[in-house]
């Protein structure tokens, strides 16, 4: 283990040293110059925005893991279902073409219902049967395949966009520029995350969620209805995933596999922050989003998610319990 401690910083330094040299390679545009700082700030801002979408979706995934120890591979599909439901109400040819705000509210409700349905219809009965965690994990993979391809059949392969807020003129804020839409996404995400944090900290159900996450058996024996807490976590997780899906669809495009592509970044975020900790998931997701965007300063854009995932593996090497995770035995 001591070797890893030295190896990883050395690797990071090596990559940083390698970076600018690569950017100078023939055929690619040279980055340095007076615009270097503003490019860096712009990438940072894009990273905050990407991170806020990852954070909103990752909180639910982390809470479900924290309360049930289940790694839910189908969480990405809750994201896709949210984005696609909002698309149906907002912009689909056969849909009602309602305003996006109303469509988003409906999508969030649909996401919560789907989350609740999965818990009540699938995982609660299976847990009652004593199905092992590994079996449940593989079942979430089956569920993910099923849901993703059902969406593919209903939605099709071509990427689509919402009817409103599609093309906007960017505002120049000093060295960076951002569209009002993207600024709204960041603002709303931060507000929702603060709301979730307040809920966890101040309300009875929030306290119960934290209690179950930190010690399920102890929580149960102190009179907390664990089944109800888990259901609330699934409803909340589904709602947040759907909201994140709409944001992701707004910032980029809606595709049938958008949630699955986001899933690994969510895992990277929650492992970086500390598996099972809601606040860790938030912090970690922002770091992952920023790493993905800032990497494009040095590396080709098609590798941005690869760098974010590399952070995940590096974290497992040096601090597997994550930034905010408890120092429990992880091996």
């Amino acid at each position: 283990m001591r070797v890893h401690r030295l190896l990883v910083p050395a690797l990071v330094v090596l990559l940083l040293a390698l970076g600018p040299a690569e950017a100078m390679a023939p055929g690619t545009e040279a980055v340095p110059g007076p615009s270097g700082l503003s490019k860096a700030l712009q990438a940072l801002l894009n990273g905050v925005q990407f991170g806020s979408v990852i954070a909103i979706t990752a909180v639910g995934l982390s809470l479900v893991f924290g309360t049930t120890r289940l790694i839910n591979f189908a969480h990405g599909e809750l994201v896709t279902v949210g984005a696609v439901t909002a698309f149906f109400f907002n912009a689909s040819a056969g849909g009602p073409r309602w305003p996006l705000i109303l469509s988003t509210v409906l999508a969030v409700i649909a996401g919560a219902l789907l989350g609740g349905l999965i818990e009540l219809g699938l995982f609660r009965p299976l847990r009652a049967r004593g199905t092992s965690l590994i079996s449940l994990f593989i079942i979430t993979i089956g569920l993910s395949l099923l849901l993703r391809h059902l969406v593919l059949i209903l939605f099709g392969t071509s990427p689509r966009s919402y009817r409103e807020y599609d093309l906007q003129r960017a505002w120049n804020l000093g060295p960076v520029s951002i569209t009002p839409r993207d600024l709204t996404i960041i603002g709303l995400s931060v507000l929702v995350l603060l709301g979730v944090a307040l809920m966890l900290q101040k309300t009875r159900i929030g306290t119960a969620i934290r209690a179950v996450a930190s010690n399920r058996d102890l929580a149960e024996s102190s009179g907390i209805d664990v089944r109800r807490v888990v259901l609330v976590v699934w409803l909340l997780g589904g709602a947040l995933a759907a909201l994140g899906g709409v944001f992701f669809g707004l910032a980029e495009v809606i595709t049938w596999d958008m949630g699955f592509r986001l899933l690994l970044l969510m895992f990277a975020g929650i492992i970086l922050g500390g598996l099972g900790s809601a606040y860790g998931a938030m912090v970690g997701s922002f770091v992952i989003g920023i790493v993905a965007q800032v990497s494009t300063l040095w590396f080709p854009i098609d590798l941005q998610n690869a760098w974010a995932l590399l952070v995940l593996i590096v974290v497992l090497l040096i601090r597997p319990q994550g930034i905010l995770g408890r120092r429990e035995r992880v091996g």
Binding site: H4, I134, F137, G142, L145, L146, A306
Partner: protein, 330 residues
Amino acid sequence: MDWTTVFSDAIRAGLGPVAACYALAAIGLNLHFGYTGLLNFGQVAFMLVGAYGVAASVSTFGLSLVAGVLIGLACSVVLALLLGLPALRLRAEYLAISTIAAGEILRLFYRSSWAEPVTGGVFGLQRFATAFYQANPIPRDTYGFWLVQFNSRDLWALAVAWAVVLVLCVVLAVLVRSPWGRVLRSIREDEDAVRSLGKSVYSYKLQSLVLGGAIGAMGGMMLAISTQSVNPDSYDPVVTFFLYTLLVLGGAGRVLGPVIGSILFWAVLTIVDSTLRQAITAGHIPETLLTAPEVGAARFALVGLGLMLLMIFRPQGLLGSRREMLLDAR
């Protein structure tokens, strides 16, 4: 409904080279998951490095096919060590997430413009297995029975692939019955008990990861050789999920589980595919419900449903014993 075509196609798919290559990759996964209890969700990464090891060695660097196979195997060993050394010290779920992330990182790197001079980027590499087909001793003709016919090229590829499967099954059968295999199985059942007997659980897990990864790389190599092409996007994480599906179908922790599983998986997939297509053409399924281009997606949805139902109602698969497969996370 033309059932003769449906069933002959299904047998063709079940015996074909693709089924053999998936069986190979699943044999490696069986060593990880079925015998050692390791949650490797990145078996596709081993297939990827194996396939590209062969393809890039031959078509980018102009080496021989044999050298390519050795390089592919070496890459898989390096990958297993890189992944296993840190992740095997941690709880099972960390291995699952880091292996799937590693698979995705590798796919993204191999398809990036950065790696294009070596890997061909999004276009992949083609025609690197001429030496393999030149060595084909089978005279040019079509062979087979009933409607199940293979040309000499396919027959050569599938014969070699199934021969490798057979050899590995025998090797594995011997290995898992040896004292070494007993340690692996007891790690799956109760890791702490094994540790208390003085065995280094970590080192056994690492050996299992390396060996199973190398077998997975062979699956990737055979797949690359039999299709004469590699493309990064055919090494999607979904391939690992298919491997789990066929492994659970056949029976994890059984020597023949992955083999039976792969044959059945491809046969059933083909049956579903051509039945749905025929039903749509004949008008049994209305166009509003499903159209022909959507059949590919529909069968993957059914794979997902099948995996769920198997894990819920028959987690031991066709061959396994239920008592042995009550795995739990550790």
